[in-house]
Amino acid sequence: MNLAARDIRHHLGRFLLTAVGLGLLLGVVLSMIGIYRGLVADALGLVRSPGADLWVVETGTRGPFAEGSRIPGDTRESIARLAGVTEAGSMSFQAFEATHGERKLRLQVVGYEPGRLGGPPEIASGRGVSRERFEIVADEKTGLRLGERLPMGTDVFTVVGTTRGAVSSGGDPVVWMSLKDSQTLQFRLAPAPARREAERGAAATATPDTINAVVARVSPNVSAESVAEAAERWKHLSAMTQEQQETILTRSVVEKARQQIGLFTTVLLTVSTVIIALIIYTMTMDKVREIATLKLIGAPDGRIVGLIVQQALALGLIGFSVGASLIVSVKDHFPRRVVMLPEDAAGLALVVIVVCLVASGLGVRLALRVDPATALGG
C-alpha cells in the first residue's frame, strides 16, 4: 500500500497547486538554460553558415566576429591558389539599420560572391542571390516577404529568397547580398573623412575593394592547420580553422552571457532547493500526528521515510514536467531563440531529483524525531 500516493490523493488540489508553482520556477530555470543554448546556437549559426574549414582575416585580429578585420579584395585569389584549398570566397559582415515601412529593422548584412563559398546555408523559399545587383536573401525573422523591396543606403533591394533562423550573435536577422552591393553599402556608410580619403585614393585599407574575411574549404586529405600556416606567410593575413573561429566566438561573445546565465541559474536552483525543502518540511509538519500514529501501530522507519521522500520526488517531477511542457509550448514566442536540448532537460530532471532528495532530508529528520506519544493527545 503506497502511503505517499494515498496522502497526495487526499490533498490533491493543494499538492497540484504546489507542484504547478514549483513548475513555474523550474520553467524559468529551463528557459534560462534554453536562452543560453539559443545564444550559442545563434552565435555559431552565422559562423557555421558558410560551411568553411578555414577563415582568413587581417593579421593580429580575431575577426571578423570578435574584432574588426579588413583585408584586400584580392586575397581570395591568393588563398584559392594555396595547395589543398578546394573552394574560397570573400565575405563581408556589417550591422545595418534599415527602415521597413514604419519600423526600424536591425540587420546583419552578409556580403558574399554569388557562386562561391559564403552564401546562405539553406534557402527556405525563393532562390539565392544571382550575379544581378540589388538582390537580397533575407531571414524570415526580418518580416520581409519574397518580392518585397527594402531601401538600404542609396539603393533599393529586392527580396529574392528567405532563410529560417539565421541571426547574428546579437540576435539580429541576417540578410545576404552580393559582395559588391555590400561593399557599396559599407563605403557609403563609412565616416566622411575616410570616404574623402578613399575617394582621393589615399589609404588602401579604405578603398571599396576591402573585405572582412576569406572563407575556404580544404580537401579532406589536407589538414586545415597546415593550410592556415601557409596562408599566414602573407604578413598582413592571419588564418584560423573553423574550430578555432568557433572557440573564439564562444569565448568572446558567449562567455559573459554564459557566466551571467550560469550564475542566475545557480541562484534559481538554490532558491528552488530552499523552496522544495520548505514545502516538504511543512507537508511533514502537517502530518506529524499521522506519522506518530504510524509509529504507534508499528510502521518501520523505512515506511515513514518512504512516505516523505516519495512525495518530495513526486512534487519535483510533476513540477519539472509542468515547467518543461510550459517552456516547450511558449519557447517559440520568445524574442530570441530558445533551444531546448534533451540532454539539458534530462540534466535538470536529474538535478531536481537530487534537490528533492536533499530537500526531503529536513522533513525526514523531523519525521524520525516525532514521538509516537504525540498521537495520543486529543
Binding site: 500500500m1 502511503l3 494515498r6 496522502d7 490523493r9 487526499h10 490533498h11 500526528r289 499521522e290 500514529t293 504510524l294 509509529k295 504507534l296 501501530i297 508499528g298 510502521a299 518501520p300 515506511r303 509516537p372 506519544a373 498521537a375 495520543l376 493527545g377 486529543g378
Partner: protein, 237 residues
C-alpha cells in the same frame, strides 16, 4: 479463571512513570505491580488523571517507564532501559492498541486503515483485504469500507480502530475507552468480540473505561487512584 494459571502475558514490577522534574514533576504512575494472564479481559478504572492511560502506554511500549520492570509474553522489554531495539516490530507483532482518540489515518479509507497493519506484517494484498472486510463486517462497519475516516461518526470510527487493533491477531490488546462513543448494544458487541479474541487467541485484553454498563463483562477490575493501584476486584464473574 483456571487455578493453574499459565505464565503471565503482561508482568509489571514496580512500574512507575513521572513526567517533568522538580516543581513540575508529575508522578503519573507510582510503582505498579500487575500480572495479566492469557484469556482474561480486565478493566482498568479510576478517576480522570489517575494514570490509566499512562499505565496502558507503558504496557504498550509507547511511553518509556521511569522505573521498574516490564515483561511481555515472557520477554523482558524494559528494565532500566529498553532491551529490545525495535519496539515498533514488537508492537506490530504482539500488541493491538485501541486509542482513546481512535487515530485513524485520514488519507486512507476504512479498509486501508485496517489493511495497513496487515500489509506491514507481511500479509498479501488479498489476505489483508479479506481479513479487513471480515473484521469490519463483524463490527458492523463493513458498509462504510470505502469511506474516509473524516466522514465516520464517532462510534463508527471507534469500531474501525478496534478492527485495526485486532487485525494482526495480537496477544496483548490494550483499549483506552473503546466503548465511550458507542451505545449500549454496540458496546456489548465490542465487549463480546474482545472476549472472543481473548479466548480464541489466548490473548489478554485490558480495557480502560468509565462505562459502568460494561463492568460486569470483566474477569477482574483494577482501580487506579493518584497513580496507585488501590484494589483489584477479581470476584466480578
Amino acid at each position: 479463571m483456571t487455578e493453574t494459571s499459565p505464565a503471565a502475558l503482561v508482568e509489571c514490577r514496580g512500574l512507575a512513570k513521572h513526567y517533568g522534574e522538580g516543581d513540575t514533576r508529575v508522578d503519573a504512575l507510582k510503582a505498579v505491580d500487575l500480572d495479566l494472564r492469557p484469556g482474561e479481559v480486565v478493566g482498568l478504572v479510576g478517576p480522570s488523571g489517575s494514570g490509566k492511560t499512562t499505565l496502558l502506554n507503558l504496557v504498550g511500549c509507547i511511553v518509556e517507564p521511569s522505573a521498574g520492570v516490564l515483561r511481555l509474553d515472557g520477554e523482558t522489554v524494559w528494565d532500566g532501559r529498553w532491551l529490545r531495539p525495535d519496539l515498533r516490530s514488537l508492537r506490530l507483532e504482539k500488541i493491538g492498541f485501541i486509542f482513546q482518540f481512535h487515530n485513524l489515518l485520514p488519507f486512507l479509507d476504512v479498509t486501508e486503515n485496517v489493511a495497513l497493519v496487515l500489509d506491514m506484517a507481511g500479509a498479501s494484498k488479498e489476505d489483508a483485504a479479506a481479513r479487513a472486510q471480515e473484521l469490519l463486517d463483524y463490527l458492523e462497519v463493513g458498509h462504510r469500507r470505502k469511506a474516509k475516516p473524516s466522514s465516520l461518526s464517532g462510534g463508527e470510527a471507534q469500531r474501525v480502530a478496534i478492527a485495526r487493533a485486532l487485525a494482526n491477531r495480537p496477544r496483548i490488546i490494550l483499549a483506552d475507552e473503546p466503548t465511550a462513543a458507542l451505545d449500549g448494544e454496540r458496546a456489548g458487541i465490542v465487549m463480546d468480540l474482545l472476549r472472543k479474541v481473548a479466548v480464541e487467541q489466548s490473548a489478554t485484553v485490558v480495557v480502560v473505561t468509565h462505562d459502568e454498563k460494561i463492568w460486569d463483562r470483566f474477569d477482574r477490575i483494577f482501580t487506579l487512584r493518584d497513580g496507585r493501584l488501590v484494589g483489584s476486584d477479581g470476584a466480578r464473574r
